[in-house]
């Protein structure tokens, strides 16, 4: 046997110390052999003739002296048609197939092919023999659900290659060669529908990277209007537990205006993944009329699954996102939660006895987080079309305190910050994005002037509220009091949104522009009241009516009626009526 191997000399949790004789590669994949099982692991440190390996599985039963086989390859994923609609674990094992094979529980050491080997795809070539191609250029397409899945020149190939032979249209499985290329050294390269790519290295087979400038509509009003996300941008949602991070991400995964959504459930509750994977097949995508699952892919490494695979799961997810971006598609990657991934790093760092940084997180935490978010972006591909990866990550700060290392490292690299607040969620003001602290560097769907006026109103209203806590309602002037009521009104009818209501739960960009324009006029309107109670009663009525309005389809006649009703109410109190 010419395989490289080593011997286990230490086991501590999921960390192995292995003695080796032939050369090993940092971050290469190795298998620890116990009985008939081979446990996947990764080399994470080398010292002298000892290598430290993190095992992606439970290490129970491993003994000193057990064999470890090195593969010489970095941790990689399979890329090709058949990825969409699947549910993978962090190492790209398809979970439903695992369940068929192993039953209720996950068994260690069982690794299945990510892409079905027996399924054939209808391939249509677009390149012809004699074409000069480079990595990432299209050789042909296969239909995958609602998409034309591009079969591309493998990303790892360097320089220009010549297409020597390409098959005609027909059905092929992912393993069958569909083309032969000749590289600069005149060596033949076989191409199949599938290729492999190491997860920790970004795919760079594009012409240029662009600046994200176009809003990505999520249909959440406070996001699209106030703190927008851009296609190819990055954003983070930090918040204490129970503030609604996951619900917000679930809503985004349903309504976001993108082609493909990849959900990386990283170290979170299994139940939440189950909701997605059981409900999505039943829901229709408003954009295509097909099942939502057809544009969705789930990478699921929940909190009780092995820790080391948690780290791998976010990289697996982003690599697949980049792959679909290469086809000119807009991909949204939702990672929930990046803190769990950071904790996985912390656990390994502790086992390696590295010198700890803040809160025992490793010193390289910040650069690792930055490198991950930098994999988001909008690019111009070699054929001129655009593709994007938008990354939204939740952060679960310890104690809900944003001053901790993971939140702070994330804030440095993202383009928008949706901070969730315990106070707002306690008051059942959902989504609990704090309208005063959050920020975004991207352009939104409504006019920037209107938004900045509304934001000033929110700040002014908050100032009055704080002041009233000191001087009381009686010590507040009626003008200030109306400012306070207006800001509360804006909060109640626009910032808050009933996620479980069919109409109110998803507000299109066009509707946001229309409604916000009306609300903006109301905020600007000078109003006069006899006393504070009168003002309060007016705003209570106005709030209730506007909320009814929010629940109506924009095309319905009732929508117009209520709109007129609101105009009338306003006319009764406005100064110049």
């Amino acid at each position: 046997m010419n395989e490289k191997s080593g011997t286990i000399i230490g086991v501590s949790g999921n960390l192995l110390t292995v003695e080796f004789t032939k050369a090993v590669v940092q971050n290469e994949v190795a298998y620890a052999v116990t009985g008939s099982r081979r446990l996947k692991s990764e080399v994470i440190r080398i010292r002298g003739t000892y290598a430290d390996l993190q095992v992606f599985e439970d290490t129970t039963g491993l003994r000193e002296g057990d064999r470890v086989e090195f593969t010489g390859e970095l941790l990689a994923v399979e890329l090709g048609p058949g990825l969409l609609t699947q549910i993978f674990d962090g190492l790209q094992n398809p979970l439903p197939q695992l369940a068929e094979q192993c039953g209720f529980f996950l068994q260690r050491g069982v690794y299945l092919d990510a892409l079905p080997r027996d399924r054939s795809w209808a391939f249509t070539p677009t390149a012809v023999a004699g074409d000069r191609v480079t990595a990432g250029e299209t050789l042909g397409t296969v239909p995958e659900g609602i998409f034309q899945h591009r079969i591309m020149v493998p990303f790892k190939l360097k320089g220009a290659l010549t297409v020597e032979r390409i098959v005609g249209p027909g059905d092929y499985t992912v393993g069958e060669p569909i083309a032969t290329l000749r590289d600069a050294d005149d060596e033949p390269v076989q191409v199949t529908l599938m290729q492999r790519w190491p997860v920790k290295i970004p795919i760079r087979a594009y012409a240029e990277r662009l600046r994200p400038s176009e809003p990505l509509v999520t249909k959440v009003r406070i996001v699209d209007t106030f703190y927008p996300v851009a296609r190819g941008g990055t954003y983070c949602i930090p918040g204490p537990f129970g503030a609604g991070k996951t619900v917000l991400q679930q809503i985004t995964s349903r309504y976001a205006d993108v082609d493909i959504v990849i959900i990386a459930a990283c170290g979170e509750r299994a139940g939440e993944v189950v909701e997605t994977l059981r409900e999505f097949p039943q829901l229709t995508d408003p954009r295509t009329g097909k099942s939502l699952m057809e544009r969705t892919l789930i990478i699921c490494n929940t909190s009780s699954m092995p820790v080391a695979a948690r780290e791998a799961s976010v990289y697996t997810a982003v690599t697949i996102a980049e792959y679909y971006r290469q086809m000119g598609l807009n991909v949204l990657l939702l990672a929930d939660s990046t803190s769990r991934w950071a904790q996985a790093l912390r656990e390994m760092s502790g086992r390696l006895e590295e010198i700890p940084g803040e809160e025992a997180f490793p010193a390289y935490l910040e650069s690792v987080i930055a490198a991950f978010y930098e994999r988001g972006g909008i690019v111009r591909l070699k054929d001129g079309s655009l593709g994007s990866v938008t990354i939204g990550g939740t952060v679960s700060p310890a104690g809900g305190n944003f001053e901790e290392p993971v939140t702070q490292s994330t804030l440095k690299v993202v383009g928008a910050f949706h901070g969730l607040s315990r106070e707002r969620s306690d008051q059942r003001r959902f989504p609990a994005i704090d309208p005063l602290d959050s920020w975004s560097q991207y352009p939104g769907v409504v006019s920037a002037d209107q938004v900045s006026f509304a934001r000033e109103m929110l700040h002014a209203g908050n100032d009055v509220k704080q002041m009233m806590k000191v001087v009381g309602e009686e010590g507040t002037s009626i003008d200030d009091f109306v400012v306070f009521l207006k800001s509360e009104y804006l909060d109640a009818v626009y910032l808050q949104q009933d996620a479980y209501h069919d109409v109110d739960g998803a507000s299109s960009a066009e509707r946001q522009r229309y409604v916000f324009d009306r609300i903006h006029r109301m905020l600007r309107c000078k109003m006069s009241f006899d006393d504070k109670d009168g003002a309060r009663r007016f705003f209570q009525r106005l709030t209730q009516t506007t909320r009814d309005w929010n629940r109506l389809e924009q095309q319905s006649t009732e929508f117009r009626q209520i709109e007129q009703q609101i105009e009338q109410m306003l006319a009764e109190v406005s100064d110049y009526a």
Partner: protein, 431 residues
Amino acid sequence: MHKVYHGIERIAGNVITVQATGVGYRELAQVSSRQGTSLAQVIRLEGGRVDLQVFAGGRGIATDAEIRFLGHTMQVPFSQSLLGRVFNGSGQARDKGPRISENLIDIGGPSVNPAKRIIPRHMVRTGIPMIDVFNTLVESQKLPIFSVAGEPYNPLLARIALQAEVDVIILGGMGLKHDDYLYFRDLLEENGALSRSVLFIHTASDPVVECLLVPDIALAVAERFALQNQRVLVLLTDMTNFADAMKEVAITMEQIPSNRGYPGDLYSQLAARYEKAVDFDTAGSITILAVTTMPGDDVTHPVPDNTGYITEGQFYLRNGRIEPFGSLSRLKQLVNDKTREDHRTIMNTMIQLYASYMETLEKQSMGFRMSPWDSKLLKYGQRFENELMDLKVNIPLEQALDLCWQILADSFDPAETGIASKLTHRFWPNH
């Protein structure tokens, strides 16, 4: 067959170190010393040295003690005869019943494949309005009760257990006061529920390592019952003691602590236990209710904080009441649309108004003049506290919803509640 070693190199706390070969990670060993015999588990292998955690503790162990490796990991017996029995943290009988040694199963087994889970869909009725109306408990939910020492969390746990319709109750006690253990046992017995219960009890005076085993044993047994199509309710009290036991061992092992001395893998360790809560596709379910006491009423303490991120909500028990703020059942949305049409609206409106009441209270305590609106809120808030929040209230959900409407109607005009007109037309009393 079994390898036997003498000669312990190091004893530190509950961890002993011995030179041995061919030992598997997490394998079990029997340590025999003058003090008696105890089980121990391998927790680290390093260059021919084996670190073992002794269940009965390190006290009284001699350096020439005999260590016999058993070749398997920790196991517990499983059969129907467990029902009605009481065991300690290492699975030995604590009552006077016979020893059970049939059908041994491994503890701390692998996690459930998410693809074999289903969306929970059954409400667990408790008769407590603060739970049924505002934070509905759902079968297969994992939910901690956050509270400070001295709150009636154990009686609350017991009451939910007795009123919930489940097939099997499994109680895991960690660092439990002996009185509390007897309280649970007697209460279950008086209500005829002991015959469908299994108790794994580690009391405060037992060796600390045994505390670490309780959740794993309790959940391994629960899992077996659930696979036999039973609906299992697991009660764990108190998970903070479990976390503290883990801290103790981690410090002895010289691990780098992350936050207030707790090990860096606290989240993963807690999650591995809580995630055993499951609704199996084509089999039974496990619901977990766990007490987490918060040192100093501090919810940002690492144990409640990590727990909150793992579990599907939490009940805050404060001043003998389940707090409406902070308490949360994440799964309630899965069931409360099937109860009654007004359930969700009532749930949100009542809490929003209660939040306004709290603000008014604050204003009142600072001596500000009360507006007519404030007076309405005060009236509302007091009725809410007395008629709904009191833990003594025991009424079914529908009755509780009617009561909510009544309180609203007695306190406000329909428009003031912000409830959609469609619902007020239907449900507003005297309308």
